[in-house]
């Protein structure tokens, strides 16, 4: 991969130590929830599959910190971090993974479809690239309704080679819509290095110019860098200056999905990225801001307790109501297809 993101030394300004400590705690909650999801799967309490986002926390938390409550977020099947960053609780996310009635989608969506529409988290989509045009549509809707909302599509590097990505960028550009396209480039399209199947060094950012869109490659493991880049892009969008493509370089700590041990990744590459764990990057920033280690440790302990409580609550929750298998096909709540 080329297009190394810039250093982070110049962007510490503008965030308070207290705020950064909050963001660190949010990231720690997500990290802990992802680890819990992994462990619960091994205990047979989570079924199906999971696509864990451990390592990607700074993208979700940094972006969410820069957005407003009314903004729209569309994410992918690797979307637990976005659901939680937008306000879904660890309990309702874990309950969803564990097929519980208290799950955020009442056990009808599962890991790949975490959604919290009341918080503007408009869904996690498991067909690669499909949600980019939807985010364009939500931005179009904001324009039509005369609001200053923005819409954000988060997607992986693998989505940049599918038609919907290109159709979405083109339409968003020609209509100059308030939408942010945020690529989480974790270097691998499932099991395959993205660079080996993509005719661009930066799979998202390099394509933007072809659609007359500005783009930035950013350090996706630095919550401050992400927050500031998203804030700039959102300000452009709200000002009527159209979409932005951000390519956040990051790395997943687990494999692609539950069944993938990720043995195809060179050990030194993994080591290099683990040394830039987004939680550690934030901790180092906090130290630089004069925050005592004990305060950082306390935040991480609070996060640990939140996750432990969430696990206990999710385990204790009841399973889904059998009647729910036949509800909510239609807006009237039902599933009748005949009269």
């Amino acid at each position: 991969m080329t297009g190394e993101a810039g250093t982070t030394a110049d962007v510490t300004a503008g965030i308070s130590a207290d705020r950064l400590l909050e963001l660190l705690e949010q990231m720690a909650v997500i990290r802990g929830t992802e680890q819990a999801a992994h462990d619960l799967f091994l205990r047979g309490l989570v079924k199906g599959t999971t696509h864990l986002a451990a390592g990607h926390e700074a993208v979700a938390v940094g972006a969410s910190a820069a957005l407003r409550p009314g903004d729209y977020v569309f994410a992918t099947y690797r979307g637990h971090h976005h659901a939680m960053a937008r306000g879904a609780s660890p309990t309702e996310c874990l309950a969803e993974l564990m097929s519980k009635a208290t799950g955020v989608c009442h056990a009808k969506g599962g890991s790949m479809h975490l959604t919290k529409a009341s918080a503007g988290m408009m869904g996690s989509y498991a067909i690669v690239g499909a949600h980019l045009p939807m985010a364009v549509g939500a931005a179009w809707s904001a324009r039509l309704r005369g609001t200053d909302q923005v819409a954000v599509a988060f997607f992986g590097d693998g989505a940049t080679n599918i038609g919907a990505f290109h159709e979405a960028l083109n339409l968003a550009s020609v209509w100059s819509l308030p939408v942010l396209f945020i690529c989480e480039n974790n270097l691998y399209m499932e099991y395959t290095p993205i660079g080996s199947v993509t005719a661009a060094d930066n799979p998202a950012a390099d394509r933007a110019a072809g659609y007359r869109l500005p783009a930035e490659v950013i350090d996706g493991n630095d919550v401050v860098v992400v927050g500031e880049a998203v804030a700039r892009a959102a300000a452009r969008a709200r000002a009527g200056d159209g979409p932005t493509v951000l390519e956040a370089q990051t790395y997943r700590h687990f494999g692609h999905s539950r069944t993938d041990p990720a043995k195809y990744r060179p050990a030194e590459e993994v080591e290099r990225w683990l040394a830039r764990d987004p939680l550690d990057v934030a901790s180092r920033r906090l130290a630089g801001l004069g925050v005592p280690d004990a305060a950082v440790a306390a935040a991480r302990e609070r996060a640990g307790r939140i996750v432990a409580d969430a696990v206990a609550d999710a385990i204790a929750a009841p399973g889904p109501d059998p009647a729910s298998a036949f509800s909510d096909v239609w807006a009237d709540g039902g599933a009748a297809w005949r009269t």
């Binding site: 989608c105 067909i127 499909a130 045009p133 939807m134 549509g137 309704r145 009269t339």
Partner: protein, 326 residues
């Protein structure tokens, strides 16, 4: 407006009526603006409503339908046009995986009040990629409502219901019917989704038809009336919700059922109708259920060949005559 309008004019009229009553109704599609649509089904709308309500798009079906979905989830009632129904295949992910499933898989958190309009069907010699009747594609996906009007009044009435529906509706306009004429319905005309119409009453045989096969069935009924056969023609109008109550009631009186579909026999909607009648109306029948559908081949170009593949008034008449004589 005129007392008599064409099916084509009815599409624009139906859209205009809903756009006048609800400012959140917005149309998007290829060439639908000042050009008025390749079939002129949006003629006059851009002039009346302007470019903030009638949006020209690139040839970009995924963007059209995907953006319509995103807008529908966030407070707009979009009406997306896919120029030819064959092109639905270019954005089928949205019709198969996204639009019909998002409400269900989020536990009811979102609604998707959108309409996808499309010009469907053959008879105009457009060949295999611009002539298909693909209403059965949509019927294969739980979570989509499906309307397919046969006459101008139903175009307006069903469009009103489709646009007002909080559920996604795929709205099949038949290319072969665009020039056909009918009574213009009064303002406020609404046809509820899922209510079939008895297009012609009769006592000897029930013929269930949809969209362009309705006039075929009516033409056959006219000819057979001269032979003393009273054909009841049911216009289904919608495939979802599917009005089997009307079909079963009719079969209860006629004891014979023929289904006339333009989509291919393999996987065609008539198979669903026939299976329900077999399950729930077996004792009502005095003869086998017969289906007249398109042959299971791609649509040929030459009109003399196309006529051999899709139902015609002749083939429908012959099939009914045979069924009545069973």
């Amino acid at each position: 407006m005129a007392d008599v309008i064409t099916y084509r004019e009815a599409v624009a009229e139906g859209l205009a009526r809903e756009m006048r009553r609800d400012p959140t109704v917005v149309c998007l599609g290829e060439d639908i603006g000042a050009a008025g649509g390749v079939f002129k089904t949006t003629a006059g709308l851009h002039a009346e409503f302007g470019s903030q309500r009638i949006w020209d798009t690139p040839i970009s079906e995924q963007a059209i339908v995907g953006a319509a979905m995103g807008a529908a989830m966030t407070g707009i009632r979009p009406v997306a046009e896919i120029m030819f129904s064959d092109f639905l295949a270019c954005c089928w992910d949205y019709l198969a995986n996204e639009i019909p499933k998002i409400r269900y898989m989020t536990g009811g958190q979102v609604t998707v009040p959108l309409v996808v309009r499309t010009a469907n069907g053959g008879g105009l010699g457009f060949g295999a990629q611009h002539s298909q009747a693909v209403e059965n594609w949509a019927l294969a996906v739980p979570g989509l409502k499906i309307a397919a009007p046969s006459n101008p009044a139903d175009v307006i009435g069903l469009l009103a219901s489709a646009i007002r529906s909080d559920d996604p509706v795929v709205f099949f306009e038949h290319k072969g019917l665009f020039a056909s004429k009918g009574q213009a319905p009064p303002d406020g005309h609404v046809v509820e989704l899922g209510r079939a119409a008895v297009a012609r009453p009769g006592s000897d045989v029930t013929v269930v038809a949809l969209a362009a096969t309705v006039p075929l069935a009516l033409a056959a009924a006219d000819r057979l009336a001269a032979e003393g056969v009273a054909v009841e023609v049911i216009d289904l109008r919608c495939l979802v919700p599917l009005d089997m109550a009307t079909v079963l009631e009719s079969v209860g009186r006629t004891s014979r059922l023929m289904i006339v579909e333009e989509n291919p026999y393999q996987g065609g909607w008539g198979g669903t109708v026939a299976s329900i009648v077999a399950d729930e109306g077996f004792e009502l029948l005095d003869a086998p259920v017969r289906r007249v559908a398109a042959a299971c081949v791609p649509l040929p170009f030459a009109d003399v060949l196309e006529e051999l593949v899709i139902p015609t008034a002749d083939s429908v008449t012959a099939a009914i005559r045979k069924l009545v004589g069973y």
